[in-house]
Every structure is written in C-alpha cells, then in structure tokens.
Symmetry: C2
Subunit: 474 residues, 2 copies
C-alpha cells in the first residue's frame, strides 16, 4: 500500500503551498521586507530627495535617452517591431529615435531593449545593474498614457532605481553567480515600483505590484552575445509596468513575495541581506551611485582608453608619430579583451589593442570607433600591432600604466588610478552631453538633440514628462 | 594599487559573458539539449504520434477548455481585463467563456490564467506540471491570427506538452524545491515550442525561441493562495508565444540556453538530467501521462472522495442515514487538508471532512461543492462533524479506507488503491464530459457546451482550429 516516492511528493507538493504561505509570512515577519519597501515607495515625497540625488536622476535620464536613441536603429529593434507591432494596441507611446508609436507596454519593451543594445548604459557598480533602462522605459511610456508632471516623473525614476539597486545589493553576489542577468531580474522591481508610484497605488497595492513582479524575473547571462541580452532590460520594464497595472486593479499577490518561503530570494539567490533593502530608506541613496560609461566597451578597458586619450590630447599625437605602445594592466584585461586581430566592430570591443588604438587615433571610444570599417582601417590595424600588453595581478582592474614610445625618441607615460566614468572620477555633464550627441548623430537633428538634452536637464520643471518621448522620436 | 573586491568582481562579471558563451557551448556540446529538442520539434510529423497519444491530447484539450470556461467569470479575470484591455491590440482572439476579444498575446495570458484559477486543470503527476494551460492558451490564440488546421493544432499541443513535461522531468525535484511554480517556469517552453511549430520555425529559429523563453520563467510558489498563482499559467503562454514570434523574425538567443553555462538549468535547478529531455523523442510520450482531476480540490483528498461517492451511489445513501464516518489515510491528508470547521468555499478545499461530506451528499466534488453556501449548509456541517480521521504512514497518499456506519446498524467500507483520476484509473471520457458540463453551466448554453465538446473530440478533422475559441465564447 506504499505509493511510489513520486506520488507522495506530488501529493505533498500540490498541497504544500496554501499552508506554506502563512508560515512563510510568519517566518519573515521580523524584516517585512516587501511591506517596508512598499511603505517607503508610497510615502516618499519628491522634496525628500536631496538636490544632488535628484540631479543624478537627471544625469541618468539624459544618458538613458541617448543610449535608447543610439540603439534604436539596430537590426534587433527592427526584428522586435516586425514580431510584435502587429499585436500592438493604441499607439500612445513613442519609440525613441524612431517614427513608430506603439501601446505603452510594447513601447516600454522596445525602448528598454534599445537602451541596452550597445551595453553603453548606466551602471550601478556594486551590482552591475544598468538601472535606468527598466525604469525609464516604463515610466516614460506610462507618461504618454496619463499626464505626469516632470517632478513626479523624476521622483518615480529615482524610486525605481533605488528599488532595483537595493534588491540587487541584497542578493549580490550569489544571485549573479547563479547565472541571472541582474538588470532584468531586479529591473522588474524598479519598473513596478516607479510605475506603481505614478499610478498612485496604495501600500497594499504596491505590495502586490512588487509581488507580481517577483514572479516575472527576466534574464540569464547565457544570453550575453545574443539579441536576447538587451531584450532583458526591455522586458523587465514591460513586466514591471504590467505588475503595477494589475495591482492598480487589486490583482493580488503574496504579501511577502520577496522574503517569504518559496519566494523570490529563496529561488533566485543563496540568501539575502535584507538590511540592504530596508535600512536607511530616504537617507541612504543607492541611486546617487549611478555611473555612466564614457566608452562603448567593457569597463576593464576603460583605464587604458582614458590614458590613451589623455596622452593623445596633451601631446597632439598622430598615429604616424608612434613607434610602440606598452600597457601594464590587470590580468583580466587580456582574459576578457585579449582579441589581438579583431575583424568586426563587436570583436573590437573585446580587443584591448583596438581600444587603445581608438583612444590614440580618435580621442574617443564611442559606438563610432567600434564600427566594422574602423576596426578594418589599415591605420588602426597598424597601430594595434604596435601594442604590447603586460599583465600584473598587482595592478587593479580599475588601474593601468600606459607607455607610448614616439619615433622621435620621446617616451610618454600615464598612470590611471581611477578611470573616467568611475565613481571617483564621474563623467562630467559636458562629457555626458558629448556622448549623447555622438549617439544621436544621424538619428536626431543637432537642434533636436540639443532640445532633448535640455528637456532632460529641466525635467523637474516640465508640466508633462511624456513630452520627452515625443521630442526624442523622429 | 589594489582595487576593492567589488570593483574587480564588477569588472570581471561585466566581461565574463561574451567569453563565457562559447565556453559554455563547448562544455555542453555532448548533450546539445536545446538543439536536439529543437530538431525534434521541427521534424516531428503529426502522423508520427500514436493514435492513443493523440487521443490523450484531445482529452487534455477538452479538459482545458472546460476549466478555462469555468474560470472565466472569476473576479481575478475581471481585474486582469480592467488592467490590460486598454492596451490590447487588434481583437482577434476570443476569451473563453466571455464576450470580449483581445489581441492574441493578451488573450493567451487571460485564457491561460482563467484555466488555472480553480486548480482543477490537468496534471502531469511526475512533475505536478499542469501542462495544457500554457500551451493551449497560446496556440488557440495564435490560431485566430493565422489559419491552423485541426491536425496541426493537435500536433502542436502534443509537442508543447511533451516539451514542458520533459524539461520539468529533467530538473525535478530540485527546481520545485527551490520555490519555482513549475507550471509557469516550464510552461513557457511548452508554449514556445508549440507556437514555434505553428509558425513554421526553422531548427535555428526554434533554438532561439526556446532560448528566449528560457530568459522568461514565470512563477514562484509563494504566490499560492493569491491571484498571481493563476497568472503564472497565462503569462507562461504569453511569454512562449512572444518568444516564438520573435524567433520567427530571427531575433537571436544563445544556442544552448537550457544547458549552457549561466543558462536556465544552472540558475533554476541544482542540476538537470538531460536524458529526460533528449532520450526517446518520438518514442516515449510524456504527454500520454496527463491526468485530469475529477474533484476541484487537492489530489490528497481524492481517494476519500472517490470512496464516499462509490458508497453513496452503490447504497443510495442519504445524509440522514449516516451515524458515523471513519477515514484511515496517509498523514499528509490531515497535514494538508485538516481544516475541521471550514467557513468558506476555499477553506472547504482544505477540509478533508468537507470533501467526504460532499461525496456522500452530492456524489460529486466539483466547484459547486466548494461554494460558500454549500460549506455553510447545516446538512454539510452536521455530516462533517461525524467524520473521524485516523492517519497511518503505512497508508499511501494515493490510498485510503473509508468506513460509513449507518443508523440502521450496518457498516459499509471501501478500500481505494488508486483514486479515480489517477494514471491507473483515469477519468473516463464520459466523466470528463460531465466535468466540462458542470464547469460550463451558467456560462455556456447546454447545446453550446455540447458543440464545444464535440469540437474538442473532433479537432483533428477541423479545417480551422481557431473556431474552437469562438465556439467557446459568449
């Protein structure tokens, strides 16, 4: 009369949950993570956020708008549009950098994906979350469905970024090591929180929005190198917006979806440090730690590119002046970007020698310097071949020494302690604008790009934040 | 010059993936799970599936249609509609049991959720996956966008169910134990596979569809007891359909998303037995193992209900005849359904005494017997109080002994070795029809319900499978 093990398990599991839910809620009672977070999200006031932190949100918005416009003509966006636009609803929301309009759910998906295509978006360095994409894509689309003031928009953007980065901190590093692409998995919470705020959710509804979002994580690292990588950022935006819209209609989820038994952290991490979520809400601002990539390639190449650009500009170097180049760097640099003879633009991003050559020749390493034609340019090929890379584990990954030997016998060298774009040496507003202009070139007219940047800087004063989306479309 | 640990990790992780992808593909080269599965999915022919297995797909379809119609008037469906219909696209697809039409992506979500609301859908007992919901909801909606023959429809339904159950087998039980709601997390693959087949994907595109689906798992067990539980089944349908639509436009994902480093199984399980996916494709049919619940409550109560109904029917018992009832059952029965004094219909599902009373009084335990009014009926209350439950670990969870002592002194007893609805004692076609009729009552007219059931039985001969959706709407 003994059933087989599977049958017992099946019966047990099929029934475990309804009894498990209250138990989980009780076990998790002390931290009450989901509820504490929801309470903060619905009670925070725009004026509670310090000026400096609000300014960082403007910088995040400007950077996001630039990368979304820049990515908008990528073939993967065209594929998404072909697949999904036949099913789009009312065309209320603009696609940045494009002429099409879609319903707000589809627009949040495509703008979010577009902004992550070049891997050139903002970075919360503690978690490697790219925070703006999942949040801004969702709330900008939502702002084209209902009128949202610029002040509320910026506040929601801040709250969304704060939410995803705090949850990311709580499960870092085990969550990332398991294989999750943290921008998508935590981004869905940022989107739900920000959209929920703009929808005026009650605390209970915000708990439900976070809970429904918890059931929809997006993104595995295995996808890096495929189109689905940037899909993660957009789908996170769309899922979070969906969760908030459902919660606004009293669609329920568990009250402890983050911390409860059989909840998000149990399934997606090896344990969470919940104080990262619940401590210092309103006084400690993760969103203030956002950084912006100056170069359209991985962070490990940035010290060398920074050094190359500095030496080029200070010495007015020309490719023909250079006899040899030596880089002393952390071993990761060769491990991750050791491609000696890149053939395509994408391969160029994984070639430290190409990155250095770009810095020396163009004084830049934007998307332009990673076009196929640039990688195949004989001047670049020749210069790349003059680079020798020495690795030394004593050199930190954020540092390097670059030595440039000139044909006239001189030797120039530069030590980088913190590369441009790091938290210690943040990108200036002017550099952010230069990056935006570079990304928008050929898509937005110069005066249009200027207008969009001004709108980002002045978003808090805008009567209707959704106007930004129309302004950044073509 | 040592950076802090976080910086190194950040730099490392930001770069790990592009180099990791090829490595992962190499490491996973021997099984080539994703590719092997995709190859089968695009080369299988309808005629390759044995008649008996195709018949099981018809039974799955009929059962799914019934539960979707039955759930369609639940308040959670109304909430979803209120939240999402403002953003729906072209109203091509019917909502079962309702009058509204939505775009196919939204319809797949809502029909899928509707079919899981009563937890009364089909069950693949090895994994506790409810297989039909995520697959049928997606392909039926898709069949209203493009013309799909009934034969192709049934074949796709079979392939989808086969796919999700095989992947579920591969990661069972660790995947479930981590906290995942396996119907949503594996269901997305079933939907992607079935929709991909109907969209005529190439093998490479099918690999991409499976891969994109892998990035969109849905569902945590923490949600059991909330509306988000049934959301999982619908969102899995919608995500799989999305993945297939994207793949049809050559939207790429990794070629080894299931088995690769930082892939699905790594993140969502403690190791996969890939032979469960790749062995015996086309000769071993998991889809043939589908079962259908005869009673609208958890499996652990089914032996006792089965015994109660048998004794009632054979002896024409009336509640007034009964003096006492004793059940000898597995300890799980009291652990999971030990609620002695249920006050609501939902609580009644977790009360073994109510379940037995329902069997004895009504000869049934459908949704009707779990309405609040029935649970509060004095006749039911009185009968419940006559039940004593004895637990014995030597009694299997699939078995029981039920003893009914009558006021006239007689004692009736029944041993159940395999309850009705188990694999050993499957629900008959007639019982499936009775279940359907019960669920459809008050929603579809009797002749309409008859017509829909006939369409399910005869789906293979239908010229246009999408007609089923229109026929089952109001």
């Amino acid at each position: 009369m003994q059933p087989d093990r599977r049958t017992v398990l099946a019966a047990s599991a099929a029934f475990a949950a309804p009894t498990a839910a209250p138990t989980a809620a009780m076990a998790a009672a002390p931290p009450q993570v989901t509820k504490t977070l929801a309470h903060y999200l619905v009670t925070s006031r725009p004026g509670d956020i310090p000026t400096k932190v609000r300014r960082e949100a403007c910088r995040s918005l400007l950077n996001w708008t630039g990368v979304a416009v820049g990515g908008s003509r990528h073939v993967s966006v065209a594929h998404m549009l072909a697949a999904l636009s036949p099913f789009s609803g009312k065309p209320e929301a603009n696609l940045l950098g494009r002429r099409e309009k879609l319903d707000i759910l589809n627009a949040s998906l495509i703008n979010g994906a577009s902004s992550h295509i070049f891997d050139y978006d903002d970075t919360h360095l503690k978690t490697i979350i790219h925070p703006a994409g999942p949040v801004a894509s969702a709330i900008l689309a939502l702002s084209q469905h209902q009128k949202v003031s610029g002040a509320d928009f910026l506040h929601a953007l801040h709250l969304g970024i704060e939410t995803e980065c705090r949850i990311g901190n709580a499960v870092w590093p085990s969550h990332y090591e398991m294989g999750w692409h943290i921008t998508g998995t935590c981004g869905v919470f940022g989107s739900a929180a920000a959209c929920g705020r703009l929808l005026g959710l009650s605390e209970q509804q915000m708990v439900w929005a976070i809970g429904n979002a918890a059931s929809q994580p997006v993104g595995l690292k295995v996808q890096f190198g495929s189109m689905t990588k940037s899909f993660h950022a957009g789908r996170a935006a769309q899922n979070g917006l969906t969760a908030a819209l459902l919660a606004a209609q009293n669609y329920t989820s568990d009250n402890a979806a983050l911390e409860g038994k059989d909840g998000w952290a149990q399934a997606l991490s090896h344990g969470a440090n919940w104080s990262e979520v619940t401590d210092g809400l309103g006084t400690r601002f993760e969103a203030a730690l956002n950084t912006y990539k100056p170069f359209a390639c991985g962070i490990v190449t940035h010290p060398a590119i920074d050094a190359a650009i500095q030496l080029r500009n200070e010495n007015k170097l020309k490719p023909g002046d250079i006899a040899a180049i030596e880089l002393i760097a952390n071993p990761l640099v060769l491990k991750l970007t050791g491609k000696a003879e890149p053939k395509t633009g994408l391969e160029g991003k994984f070639s430290i020698t190409h990155c250095i050559a770009a810095g020396l020749v163009a004084g830049a390493a934007g998307e332009r310097q990673f076009q196929d034609a640039v990688v195949r340019d004989p001047v670049m090929i020749a210069l790349r071949r003059k680079v020798t890379v020495h690795v030394d584990p004593k050199v930190g990954a954020a540092q390097c020494n670059l030595l440039v030997k000139l044909k006239d016998g001189r030797s120039l060298s530069r030590h980088i302690e913190h590369a441009i774009g790091s938290q210690e040496k943040p990108l200036s507003d002017a550099a952010l604008e230069a990056k935006f202009s570079d990304l928008a070139e050929g898509i937005l007219a110069k005066d249009q790009a200027r207008r969009v940047m001004d709108m980002c800087w002045g978003i808090e004063k805008a009567a209707d934040a959704g106007g930004l989306a129309a302004a950044a479309s073509t």
